[in-house]
Symmetry: C2
Subunit: 304 residues, 2 copies
């Protein structure tokens, strides 16, 4: 879905396609990675690899990025640590500000996300990946496409009144989860992922939807924990399984068919996609095909 946007920024010179990604600060359990304005995916893949290696030795490691870019779904990087049986927390500064401080009107914060992955033994891993607003901005856009109204609680207008017409979204403000609590989380995650690393945060954030040229100086942080440092890692994974199963077995509210764990639905969809292929909506397929033509490369599924 983001591919056309990524390509547009690379072609406009806003992203460096051949970055010199390098560690500029380092201690036993931390590193600061300079992304050289490369794709965030490359920067955070490197950062996560460093964090996993350091966590194996030190028990825990924290690696931040500066002069990075949008890195795709937040959960990608904690899930990399899962492959090593490790726990990971990821924080990022979003690439457009949609959130004011609580009680305010100026869009000074992004919907700064957190993603956390926790390994299990037999159950799907617990993977939380969430924005700090009730609804991510993408969900608002989907409501416009479908001609639906938004539920109360997603947005308010500049008077603080509920805004439910998604076509009026540009006049409104996204609401943080739990009111001032979500504002606090968006701020804290932004300070941890942006300000600590010397990356953009608050007023400095470049709206990468509106600007294809200016380097975003995006910041991200990943913290990796090796459960083997705390005791038998298999016993830990089995204890997580027990918690997962107890939650799933809870008595349910009327009308609720199943209790889900964070990341469980994505896990099932991904396993299904591995088996039968990844479904691509016709509109997305069309946009990717057009992109392939414009780049002079083969379309998806076309023989090269």
């Amino acid at each position: 879905m983001r591919m056309p946007h990524y390509i547009r920024r690379i072609q406009a010179g806003g992203v460096n396609p051949k970055p010199n990604i390098r560690v500029i600060e380092e201690r036993a359990a931390m590193a600061l990675v300079h992304g050289d304005n490369g794709m965030g995916h490359l920067v955070m893949k490197r950062a996560t690899e460093i964090a996993v290696a350091k966590a194996r030795t030190c028990g825990v490691a924290w690696v931040g990025s500066v002069f990075s870019n949008h890195a795709g779904p937040a959960s990608l990087y904690p899930r990399m640590a899962l492959e090593h049986g490790m726990v990971a927390l990821y924080f990022a500064v979003g690439n457009a500000n949609h959130l004011p401080p609580w009680g305010g009107l100026d869009m000074l914060l992004s919907t700064n996300p957190i993603a956390v992955a926790i390994p299990t033994h037999e159950e799907p891993p617990v993977v939380l990946d969430m924005a700090t607003t009730v609804a991510a901005y993408g969900k608002v856009k989907t409501k416009v496409q479908r001609g639906e109204t938004m539920p109360e609680g997603w947005m308010v207008d500049r008077e603080g009144k509920a805004l439910t017409d998604p076509k009026r979204a540009s006049e409104g403000l996204l609401l943080p989860i739990g009111g001032y609590k979500g504002y606090g989380l968006a701020l804290i995650f932004g300070l941890l992922a942006g300000t600590l690393n010397g990356a953009a945060m608050g007023k400095d954030v470049v709206d990468f939807n509106a600007d294809d040229v200016t380097p975003t100086n995006t910041g991200q942080s990943i913290c990796v924990i090796d459960p083997a440092a705390f005791g038998d890692p298999l016993e830990f994974k089995k204890r997580v399984d027990v918690v997962v199963r107890d939650l799933r077995a809870s008595e349910r509210m009327p009308g609720v068919e199943r209790i889900w764990l964070p990341g469980e639905q994505s896990y099932i969809k991904r396993k299904e996609a591995e088996r039968v292929g990844t479904p691509i909506a016709p509109a997305l397929r069309k946009s990717l095909d057009a992109l392939a033509v414009s780049l002079g490369i083969s379309k998806l599924g076309e023989q090269t």
Copy 2:
């Protein structure tokens, strides 16, 4: 406020007043502290001191506790790290389950809190300290005392309908912030503070309001980051000041007198208390006086 409860548990043998608090697992950037069922305040003070010392060397450190107890306000420990110019994140498993999984009815989760402290140069430090439910359970109790109704969004009944009569709280469920998102956060924070350390989580949590005898095996975790590892620590603090001031200077919604930063109101109250003394409500004073009499010690303000 919690003093009578703490004393009651110590007298009943539920808490070890002379614990042998010790490190049972250790690597360069982590430690697991066995609290020997001592007061959580002692355990987490020790854990935070270890984390600060390790972060100074390794850049970051993560210290967990097992067989600890309730440790007072979550923000206490991240604020200890502030005194060393460090950033800290704290997670805890609460000592009573008030939250079901999203869509469920069984109280399998506590309102597991997060607290984060971030140092500043001239501004009050940014200190977030929050439960993962819209309202903490203590707020519900306060509504009963005052004979007030609760706003919609704090609790629902077992059919999922809004519950606004705080006297019916025992029939209801607290709502997590952002719905399933807050459920995810409560779960993740509990896995990081409890399950990772081998401490109680989920079904194992002992309700310390109802049970004075059983060791709670409370778990907490603190992660300390030294900004000096990432660059000039003074420059970092100044950058946080800039974000704080930009947020405070935001245009405000009608009727909003001031934009607050997380921890700013507590900071002002604490500074005021340092100047003129700590105000104690008459009911609390009475309960502390009764406690002093029962223990054969002098009351607050009494000459010894």
